[in-house]
């Protein structure tokens, strides 16, 4: 049985991890972003309407960390898009299950995007459904991250991950 202190300690650890996760995305450290995941991770960005209807079509679907690195490499060298900055605001982080090995959480996010003209807009609102495990050094890593977005109409394109 986990004491309240241990629960809060875990929550703080998860919050701190999420803060570093969004900081990597908000500060153009995409290569470091891939490090938050396990090698066998599953990362998905999917509209809420598909999740609600039980349909699988994603916007991005990576089934291992190699695919995350490929995505970053492609963004750096192949794809063409307007330079932009994200600011993630996260809230409502809740641990939904914890069996001592696997932890699942849910949390909300908003991403504000700023393009070349300096105008800032809400780009996405949504939630993270995460599954985490500890690596051999005891660090928490995301084994599954399902980004479920409410803002169904993606404005122009989606380049930088959420």
């Amino acid at each position: 049985m986990t004491s309240k202190t241990e629960k809060l300690q875990l929550w703080l650890e998860l919050s701190e991890l999420q803060a570093r996760y969004v900081s990597a995305l908000d500060n153009d450290q995409l290569e470091a972003w891939t490090e938050f995941f396990t090698e066998d991770c599953r990362y998905e960005i999917i509209p809420k309407e598909n999740v609600d209807a039980g349909l699988p079509a994603p916007v991005i679907y990576c089934r291992n960390r190699k695919m995350l690195r490929d995505r970053v490499l492609s963004l750096r060298h192949a794809n063409i898009f307007e330079g932009h900055t994200y600011r993630h605001m996260t809230s409502g982080l809740v641990v939904t299950s914890n069996d001592g090995e696997t932890i699942t959480t849910t949390s909300s996010y908003i991403v504000v995007i700023t393009g070349q003209n300096g105008e800032s807009n809400v780009y996405q609102a949504g939630r993270y459904d995460d599954e985490l495990v500890r690596d051999e050094t005891g660090e928490l890593r995301y084994r599954k991250k399902r980004v479920v977005f409410d803002t169904l109409r993606v404005q122009t394109l989606l380049a930088t991950p959420i």
């Binding site: 209807a53 291992n64 492609s74 192949a78 794809n79 063409i80 898009f81 993606v154 394109l157 989606l158």
Partner: protein
């Protein structure tokens, strides 16, 4: 992600003039004028065209419905006992939208404002207090439910693709699709499909810029640098760029691998994707594999069916893209993903992996809306200046090439005819 595009005030009475008879010069006015846009709604979307609504597989059960658009008119398409019905989503009473859900199942639809209710076919079935109350007058005696139904559209289905038309003039759907386009639709819709969901992209640019894009094989290897960057050789590709023969508004572009001897069916072709040592390479190239599922090993099949459908097969990813205009300077693109009902789990997984190639974050498609927005922002002030479409202009009959703007020229000729320009 880009600047808000402000439409200039419509220059009243300024004629739209295409100065070349072969569609090779296009006045920028057509991309930003409100006047042109209004005319399109009347002459195209309410004119003699069949407008793609969705897949039958999206509404598989009796009374399933889906809200969508014909041009910018909100409509509802629903599966009825006799087939399908489509009606304008506007109460015959005071004009409120009757159906407020995107998808659902309902045998009847009731307007929330005064609870007028309609059958799923669109016929009026109930008006509260029709006979008045407590001896006071209700609706006039002359009022009939027959005369006050929802505005119904013609609906037709071809191989599981649903279309609607406002016009009685529109030829039967198979004829409208035409002899050049039908075999290519038949190719992808030869057995029952299963709907896998949709993704949506919203672009601050004119809908015709997107249609130009899907009729423009010339840009493919120049704007989309994914294959080039990762040195993915696509040797010996056979190309086609075929317009519809009657009006030129539909078209198909294909790129096909010439099969090597001994290449067996149902084998992954990932091994054929080679990367040079001096370039970048993918750590996990499996999403570029292709399981052979059609007679011809076509890697790309891009087929716009005017005005609001683009059928796509890229490797094993299958999509109906629905193109919806939202004013002169905006469009929404809905990517409806599908597979076949008899897909193996491996095939289904590959289709989802390859969803990474297309859609709003697609490795080989995300740049398209970036490009159309650049054109929108570049052209809106100079409505009389002209787009130049000269690639392969001297060889309009040439179809076995990707380096051509012939399909775009043919499109503009068909557009001019429909619009009376």
């Amino acid at each position: 992600m880009s600047e808000t595009v402000i439409s200039p005030p419509a220059p009243i009475g300024r004629a739209v003039h295409f100065p070349q008879a072969d569609g090779s010069r296009v006045p920028y006015r057509v991309f930003s004028s409100q006047e042109v846009y209004e005319r399109e709604q009347e002459r195209i979307y309410r004119g003699p065209t069949w407008n793609f609504l969705g897949l039958e597989a999206e509404i598989p059960n009796l009374n399933d419905f889906k809200s969508t658009f014909v041009g910018d008119t909100p409509v509802v398409v629903t599966r009825t006992a006799d087939g399908f019905a489509c009606w304008v989503n506007r109460c015959a009473h005071r004009g409120a939208m009757v159906c407020r859900e995107k998808r659902g199942n309902a045998a009847s639809h009731t307007c929330v404002y005064h609870q007028w209710s309609y059958t799923c076919e669109g016929d009026l079935q109930g008006v509260p207090f029709r006979r008045g109350q407590k001896g006071q007058a209700g609706m006039p005696k002359s009022f009939t439910t027959e005369g006050n139904g929802l505005h119904k559209l013609r609906v037709a289905s071809y191989k599981g693709l649903l279309f609607a038309s406002f016009s009685d003039e529109t030829p039967p759907l198979p004829e409208y699709l035409g002899a050049e386009m039908r075999p290519w639709i038949d190719r992808l819709f030869h057995k029952p499909v299963e709907y896998l969901g949709c993704t949506r992209q919203y672009s601050k640019s004119n809908w015709k810029l997107y249609l130009e894009n899907v009729k423009d094989p010339y840009h493919a290897s120049l704007l989309h640098l994914f294959h080039t960057t990762f040195n993915i050789f696509r040797v010996g590709m056979k190309a086609r760029s075929i317009p519809d023969a009657t009006h030129g508004l539909h078209s198909i572009i294909t790129a096909t691998k010439i099969e090597e001897a001994g290449d067996t069916a149902a084998a992954y072709n990932a091994q054929n994707i080679r990367s040079m040592d001096d370039g970048f390479s993918l750590e996990d190239p499996e999403l570029l594999g292709q399981i052979k599922e059609f007679d011809e090993l076509t890697t790309n099949h891009i087929q716009p069916i005017f005005p609001q459908l683009v059928i796509q097969q890229i490797h094993n990813t299958l999509v109906c893209r629905q193109l919806l205009p939202k004013g002169p300077s905006n469009f929404e693109l809905v990517f409806h993903f599908f597979g076949y009902a008899d897909d193996t789990p491996e095939m289904r997984e590959l289709r989802m992996l390859q969803a990474n190639l297309v859609g709003p974050a697609g490795y080989i498609s995300m740049e398209d809306t970036e490009a159309t927005e650049l054109v929108q922002r570049g052209t809106f002030r100079d409505a009389d200046a002209l787009s130049v479409l000269d690639m392969a202009r001297d060889a309009p009959e040439q179809q076995e090439t990707l380096i051509t703007e012939n399909l775009i020229r043919r499109f503009w000729l068909g557009y001019q005819k429909l619009m009376g320009y």
